[in-house]
Every structure is written in C-alpha cells, then in structure tokens.
C-alpha cells in the first residue's frame, strides 16, 4: 500500500468514528479492513491510557480522540507495530515490542516496529517523556495484542469451518487440530467484516512470560552502529533545500529590522524570508544557508540586560506565589521555636545538550504537510506546524524519526516550525537543523532553584518537624495554558522530588513559583535532582547534629508505612552493596542519598577522594526498584546513564546569564563530563512488584546529594550549591605556602602578569597591588588560580580570559599565593 492510500484511508476513517459508548459496549475491540491489511486498534486501551495519565502524578494531557491503530497485518504475515512512543535512546521501541510480542502469538522477527505518523497511528497527545511510556502502555498494548489474536482466531475458525476452541496459535499461524492452517496474512485476506469480541481476552500470567522480563538486544542498534539509522537530522527528500534562521542574541530581545543585502549575494542562496518576527534563509546547501544567515545584519531591541545575580535574587524563597504541596501534623508551625537547624541550597540553570541538535524536514503542499522530525511529541509538533501555517491539523503528518537524545528538550520542536515556514515560502522541502549555539541560547533551560530547609529534633534525637521551602523557575507551566498555572498554583515539574519522604510527624513543603525572564522547561527528571540535592544533603546535616550515622539516621525515619518501607529496602540494598561503614582506602569517603520519583525509589552511595583540589568520584553504587522490568539490561543502562548525566551537573554544568545573554555558546564554555571523570558504577536491580514503573528519570535523583554528602564526610565542609566547587582545604592558604617555591610556579604566569606580578591584562593594577591584595581573601585568590575566570564569567572585570590552573596541585597554588602575598 502506498503512503497516499494509507493517508486516504485514514482520512476517511476520521468520519467513521465510533463513539466511546459503542467501544465500551463492544467489549472494546474493533477492526477495520483497509486495502492490503488489517488495521487494528482497541479503544478501551485508549481509555485506559487516559485514565492512567489522569491519575499519574501530574502527568499532563491525555490521549484524546481519533481511531486508534496499533497493529497492521501484511499479506506476507509481517505485523507492523505502529509506535507512537519515540526512540530517543531509552530503548522504548524494544521494550514495547517485548510487551506486544507477549500476546501477539507471533514470532519476534515477524513484528516490525514502525513510527506512527500523526495521520496514521494512534493519537498520542502526551508524547514521550516523564518516564511514563512503559507504565502507561504496559496494559493497553497487551490487551490490544491479545484482542487482535483472539479476533484472528475467530476468523480462522470461520474460514476453516471449525470451532474457535479447536484453533491453536503460534508463530503467526492459526492451526486447527486436524492440521489445516492459515497464516495471519491469509486470515486477513479478503475479510471485510470483523466481529467484535464479546469479552476482553484473558492475559498471560506473569509466570508464563517469554519476552517480558528477559534481556533482549535492542532492536535499533544494528542500524545505528552501521550508520544506517535515520534520525531527524538525517532526513532527506528529493529536491530538498536547507534552511537557517536568525535567532535573538539576548534573552529578552525582540526583532526590529534586518538588512539582508549582503546575504542575498551569497552563492547558493535561494530565498530569504523576512516577516515581522522571523528571518530565515533557504539555500542549496546547509553551509550557504548558515553563511547567509550569519551575513544578515539584524537590529534587535535587547530588552532588559539581565545579570546572573538578579536572576538568582528573583528565584528565591519568599518571592512569587507560594503553594503548600505537603502539610502534615502541624506542618511548619511546629518550627516557630526551639533549637532549629536550617540551611539554604541552590542549583544553576542547565542545558539539555542532547548531541543531535533539533531538526526537521518539512514539505508543504496545498493538501498535505509532511514533517520528519526529531521530536518527543509528534502531536505537539502537528499543532505547532498547523498553527504556523494556518492549516488544519489533519493535513499535517508528523513522523518522528530516531532522536539523538531528548531529555525533555524535544517535546516541542522549533525547527519543524522554521522548516514549515520556509518550505511554504519556497514550495520545496526544507531541512532545518539547529547549530550548537542556537541550542544553548535559544532553547529552554533547566531553571534556577533555591531551597530553604528547616528542622527540629525531638527528645528522641529524631526529626520532630521539618519544612522545605522551594523556589524555582517554571518547568511544566510554560507548556500549558495560563489557566493551569492559576488553577494549580505550584508547578508540579518544579517541585518534583521536593516533598519530604521521611516519617516525620510535622512536615511541610511549600513551592514558590518564580517565573524567569528566559524560557525554562523540562529537563531529565524535572526538579528531581536539584530538589533531592537540597533535601538529602540537609538530612545529612540534621543527622550530624543528631550525632548519628547518615544511613542509620535515615533508616530510623523510614518504614512506618508500605511506601517508606519500600524506600528503606532500597536504601539498605545500596548501603549493603557499597559496604557502607567498612574501612575505605586512605583519603576516601562515602556519601549516601535516596530519592523517589514516579513510584520508583533509588538510593546511591558515592565514594570519593580529592585529586588536585577536585572531587574525584571513584565508585557509585545504586539500588533501584522500578517494579516489573521489561528489559533488565535497559534498566541497567538507564541507571548508568542517569548517574553519569547527573555527575556532569555535579562537576561542571552551569548556564550563566551576563548582560542579558546566555554566555555559553558551545561546549568550550559549557563542558560535559567525559570518560575521564566517569566512576565505576555498580547497580542492584530490585523488583518488588509485578507492575512496571517509570525508569528513564528516577536514577538521576540521588547522585548530586550522594556526592555532596561524601564530600562533607571527607572534608567536613558542606557544599550547598551545584555544581560542587570545593574551596581549598586550608583556611590560611598563604601560610600553608612557600614563597620561594611559589616564585617558580609563577614562571607560568609571567607572560600575562609580568615580572613580579606587575600587571593584569586589561586592568590598571597588578597582582602586586597592595590595595587589591588587602581586599582579596586567600581563598578567593586560590579559587581564581585554580578555576580561572573566563572572559564571560560574571566576576570577570577585563573581559579577558584568565585561564584556570587546575593542573597545579593544591600545594603549588598555596605556594604561588604565598609568593603573591610577599610581593608588595
């Protein structure tokens, strides 16, 4: 069948739309025959999805309307599985195929996974994210598969003239006891009428599973490792052109005017589209398009020139609107008197830094808009493209190709809108792939957070009362109509992971909503890692006041009900696997932390030491309990990956705003973690229930807190800000140094700072300036030397780069500071 035929069938089917009532009466199963195969879907599955989403913790939207279509049987007996969930690395195509295979009565290789276009497959308004795909699809897909198998059994029985009970099904073949058989393809041939099932088929019990719970090689890897797999950035079409769009440089910039004269003359430029809010180039090659884009002289109204410190002041507890999201016992009222323990924590903005920039290929014709994109939500993109073009959604067919990472950034896909506008303008297919600077400066980012924690111990040495006040830029609200925000008050994405999990009689969590002047949004786990960093480091602080071991202290606050008993089990499993409390190598220490997210608890123990003034993580031991695991190796991979991505935030990641601009423009000033900093990772997989829970985000929860707690255990210093930047181990840096040795170290500085510290490039004083030396603390000087101060760093005065000297040992830096101190 050609894609046109499919589209036509689908369009016609839009008018054939049974009501929900009919579906329910009909026990849920409905088939419809189209040329060449059986389209099959089950409405009750759809209703279930909607139900799960509605009851899930804050999962937005729902799967609404339109004929559901999961499986399509082909004459050659292949079963096409129309996949609505996108593969962005998390292994969902393999996992959902395992789930379907369990009930389809077909061979593994017979089932072919295809990406469901928005005009073909089931409509999935939720998209892929929130660690929700397996938990929400597990039931519906098995039911859909079983219902189809049973309908095929009935039809085979009719065709072979035997009773349905006489038919056995295996490997996609229905066989009567007498030996006659029909393949699925043969059963489907020529059938126009399908009887609806009278009841929902009984599903296989877990003890008989053949596919679910068994490690399976990923179905997408072979093509990915040979380079054949097609991602959004790789999409191609005959006659395609390339687009590039001019972006605002400042976070509040608005477009004023553009001078395109220089750009027009660049070889290969086909056309330049200038509207009152959009400037884009179409060219024969990507290089020409980007060159022309860079040659366009745009005038912006920069808006307010925000500084980092102003943003941090904005995102502070006490600002914005407060909503209590947890209040038990007397809540925070119990914290008005007595001996209080309190602390503040902060986390920075961060980028998603998916390595495949967002990208889309769009062909606009009068009655069909075809979009091939890297997107986590084809249906969102369908709406955005339709709106940008002023057409009906039902002529926009969005097909998700493979994604080179998503992490929450690819829910929307601005590149599809760019490409659609440009394609409509030139009448040919246009591909737009963002570059790295667009990704850093024009996307949305993980917002700043601020947490204020307070606790009081009771006479028994346990926490009697605890409060967590949490401020954050928006996470989920930017993606919903304004009404959602006024109705809910607190942004469920922002406070994710912020509620107090421990058994504490009086506890309260309050979320302060502080929208930021730049775009903020979903980032893997949403608020999970940063909130857990605050809460779990603070628990360690309280344990210290209570004079108790951090593990023991936590265990004493867990187990009062089933939920915390499960947390306790996971915590114990991690501690045991990590040999918590056993002697460690000299200079090493461990830290522990616990989180729970989408019902999946995870505990981690980090073992660290210091190397050249930096935290070195040697080993992370994790225990996680995601319930039923569909593909255990996939669970392991998600855990390893989350820990490493989290460590990147712990060590490096911080987006800074200076003079109204995000300073990061590429990985040179926003470095990610590499193999060099990657620790050994040991994972304990627990499976306490037969129900699958979310897995893509939960393991990122504890890592920052585990490392912060290990650092405290090692040094006695509490770091309350991400990324973790240790201050030097001695307070009196200069006294610990030797000026004579320091003079030798200083040889590396002479080129810029002159003989005996006589100058600082770009400044009118030198390192030997007595006034400057008097007002600078030893640790400040130490810090600049070790970490440097990039030209775009908020503290930089000259705009010129002071390189970091992380390669020097602490002692060498003490020495050079002592040398500087002795200069004047």
């Amino acid at each position: 069948m050609t894609s046109d035929e499919i589209t036509n069938t689908k369009r016609k089917r839009r008018f054939w739309r049974p009501t929900r009532r009919q579906f329910l009466i009909g026990a849920g199963a409905t088939g419809v025959v189209a040329a060449g195969g059986l389209y099959f879907g089950i409405p009750f599955a759809r209703l279930q999805i909607a139900e799960v989403l509605d009851s899930g913790a804050g999962a937005p939207g729902g799967v609404d309307a339109d004929p559901p279509l999961w499986f399509e049987i082909q004459p050659n007996n292949d079963i096409l599985f129309h996949m609505t969930k996108v593969e962005m690395g998390q292994g969902i195509h393999t996992a959902l195929k395992q789930i379907a295979a369990e009930e389809l009565g077909a061979e593994w290789d017979q089932i072919k996974v295809v990406s469901a276009g928005t005009l073909r497959g089931p409509n999935d308004g939720f998209g892929t994210g929130g660690s929700s795909s397996v938990p929400t699809m597990y039931g519906p897909i098995r039911e859909a598969a079983a219902a189809m198998r049973e309908m095929l059994r009935l039809k085979a029985a009719e065709k072979l003239g035997v009773a349905a009970a006489d038919i056995s099904i295996a490997n996609g073949i229905a066989t009567a006891s007498a030996g006659d058989n029909l393949t699925y393809g043969e059963i489907v041939a020529d059938v126009t009428e399908w009887a609806e099932l009278e009841e929902t088929p009984v599903l296989k019990p877990q003890t008989e599973f053949e596919f679910i719970g068994k490690t399976r090689p990923r179905i997408d890897f072979e093509s990915k490792l040979t380079g054949e797999a097609v991602y959004g950035f790789d999409a191609r079409m005959d006659g395609m052109l390339y687009g590039a769009v001019v972006r605002p440089t400042h976070i509040e910039a608005t477009f004023v005017s553009a001078d395109i004269s220089a750009a027009q003359d660049i070889d290969g430029v086909v056309d330049i589209l200038v509207t009152d809010d959009f400037v884009g180039v179409v060219a024969e090659s990507r290089y020409a398009a980007q060159k022309a884009r860079d040659a366009i002289d745009v005038t912006w109204d920069t808006g307010k020139l925000w500084q980092q410190a102003e943003l941090e002041a904005l995102v502070s507890v006490g600002n914005g609107r407060a909503t209590a999201i947890q209040r038990e016992g007397s809540g925070a009222k119990a914290l008005q008197s007595g001996k209080l323990i309190s602390a503040d924590y902060r986390s920075p903005m961060a980028a998603h830094a998916h390595l495949e920039p967002q990208s889309a290929l769009v062909e606009v014709t009068p009655d069909l808009v075809t979009v091939h994109a890297s997107t986590q939500s084809p249906s969102l993109v369908q709406g955005e493209v339709a709106e940008a073009l002023g057409v009906e959604e039902d002529i926009v067919d969005v097909k998700a190709l493979y994604l080179g990472g998503g992490f929450g950034r690819k829910l929307n896909n601005g590149s599809a809108v760019d490409a659609a506008r440009l394609s409509a303008h030139v009448g040919r297919p246009v591909h737009v792939g963002w570059d790295r600077t667009e990704e850093f400066r024009n996307g949305y980012v993980r917002p700043l957070t601020h947490s204020k924690l307070t606790a009081k111990l009771g006479a028994d040495g346990l926490i009697e009362s605890m409060s967590h006040e949490q401020a954050s830029g928006d996470v989920a609200f930017p993606f919903f109509p304004a009404i959602a925000a006024s109705f809910l008050g607190a942004d469920f994405g922002a406070w994710r992971g912020g509620r107090i999990q421990y058994d504490v009689p009086n506890r309260e969590t309050v979320a302060w909503r502080t929208p930021m002047p730049l775009k903020t949004g979903w980032w893997r786990g949403l608020g999970l890692m940063c909130n857990t960093f605050a809460v779990e480091c603070f628990i360690d602080e309280v344990a210290q006041v209570a004079g108790m071991d951090p593990l023991e202290f936590r265990l004493k606050h867990l187990g009062a009900d089933e939920k915390t008993a499960q947390l306790k089990m996971v915590l114990q499993a991690a501690a045991e696997a990590a040999d918590w409390g056993a002697p460690l190598p000299e200079g090493h220490a461990q830290g522990i932390a616990l989180s729970t997210d989408v019902g999946t608890p995870c505990a981690q123990v980090a073992e660290i030491s210091m190397e050249n003034g930096r935290i070195r993580v040697h080993k992370v031991t994790a225990a996680i309990d995601p319930g039923l695991m569909i593909n255990p190796d996939g669970v392991l991979a998600q855990t390893q990956g989350s820990i490493i991505m989290g460590l990147s935030s712990v060590f490096n990641e911080e987006l800074i705003v200076k003079d109204g601009m995000i300073t990061a423009e590429n990985f040179n000033n926003y470095p990610l973690i590499t193999m060099k900093e990657t620790p050994e990772i040991d994972v304990v997989l627990l499976e306490s229930t037969g129900i699958p829970k979310g897995m893509g985000e939960p393991p990122i929860g504890p890592i920052a807190a585990a490392v912060g707690n290990a650092y405290f255990a090692l040094t006695g210093e509490r770091l309350r800000r991400l990324p973790l930047r240790p201050t030097p181990p001695v307070a009196d840096v200069a006294a610990a140094g030797d000026p004579t040795r320091g003079e030798e170290v200083y040889n590396q500085c002479i080129a810029c700072h002159g003989d005996q510290g006589s100058q600082i490039p770009g400044l009118d004083y030198g390192l030997n300036d007595s006034e400057w030396l008097a007002k600078s603390s030893d640790t400040d000087i130490f810090d600049v030397i070790r970490n440097g101060r990039a030209g775009d760093h908020p503290d930089n005065i000259s705009g010129i780069n002071m390189p970091g000297f992380g390669q020097l040992s602490d002692q060498e830096i003490y020495d050079v500071v002592a040398y500087l101190r002795a200069l004047p």
């Binding site: 490792l225 070889d267 080179g404």
Partner: protein, 154 residues
C-alpha cells in the same frame, strides 16, 4: 575538488570551504557521520583522514583534497562489521547512539595504532568524545574487548 571516500574517488563541485561534515552528509548522502557541535569539541563527527581520527566539522573540504577519507559506511569489510562495531553491538553500548559513530571511529583509529592499550590509554584516547546519554562505562568495556579481537586477528 577530488576526494577519495571509502575507497571511491569522487568529484565534488561545491564551495571548497564547506566543512567536511556537510560535504559527507548533505552532498554525498552518507548520514552515518553525525553533526554535534561544529566546534570540534564533542567528537560526534569524527571520520578518518588518511587513517587519523579527524573532526569533520572543523575540517574544510579543501584541506582533504586528494586524501583518503573513511566514514562509518566504509568500516565493515567483506560484509563483516569492523571489530569495534562488533564489540559495541555485543556490549549493547549505545543509548541514543548519536555520538557512537564518532566514538567508534575514534576507537578504531586509536586501536589501529595501539592494540594493546592500558585502561589509562583507552580513557585518554576516548576522553574527549562526549556521550550525553552517559554510556562511558560500556564504551570503555567495548573498546577493551575490541582491542582483544584486534590482537587475535594479528
């Protein structure tokens, strides 16, 4: 401009300043080579130029005229995956896999020079290729395994 790619000599009549990554992907249609950052930082675009791992996003086409370029499409020999590819598959290394072609090209060039690497040498050789999904533990295991296969083959 003449370049040799995966053993085939090809004439490319495009702007000689075009970054090699676009020439390979957009003009020759070999989309196995990926684009990640455009600044040579992440390594996703790594190809071999005369056997050396080279970041194609910062390599202008004119600098590789008459040189032999190998991309992932040219790695399998006689229908068999290159030992590095086979090891990455065996160890189920990738997640999204956008960086993996660059990782494998980096590893293959490195192991061709040194197929008895120490762990530290592997970390050093692979230490400037980013993987945002965080597959470093498995990448290391696969490169170690590939080294062993390559030793046996010699």
């Amino acid at each position: 401009m003449k370049i040799t790619i995966n053993g085939e000599a090809i004439n490319l009549d495009i702007d000689p300043e075009t970054p090699l990554v676009w020439a390979i992907r957009d003009h020759l249609g070999l989309t196995g080579t990926k684009f990640g950052c455009g600044g040579g930082y992440c390594g996703a675009c790594t190809v071999h130029v005369e056997g050396k791992a080279t970041r194609s996003c910062i390599t202008p086409l004119e600098t590789v005229a008459d040189k032999a370029i190998t991309t992932i499409e040219g790695m399998p020999q006689n229908g068999e995956l290159h030992p590095v590819q086979a090891a990455f598959l065996e160890h189920q290394v990738p997640q999204c896999s956008w960086c993996m072609v660059g990782q494998m090209m980096t590893a293959a060039a490195f192991l061709a020079e040194n197929n008895t690497p120490t762990e530290a040498e592997i970390v050093n050789a692979m230490g400037s290729n980013y993987c945002r999904c965080g597959c470093y533990v498995r990448i290391k295991a696969a490169v170690t395994a590939a080294a062993e296969t390559m030793q046996e083959a010699n």
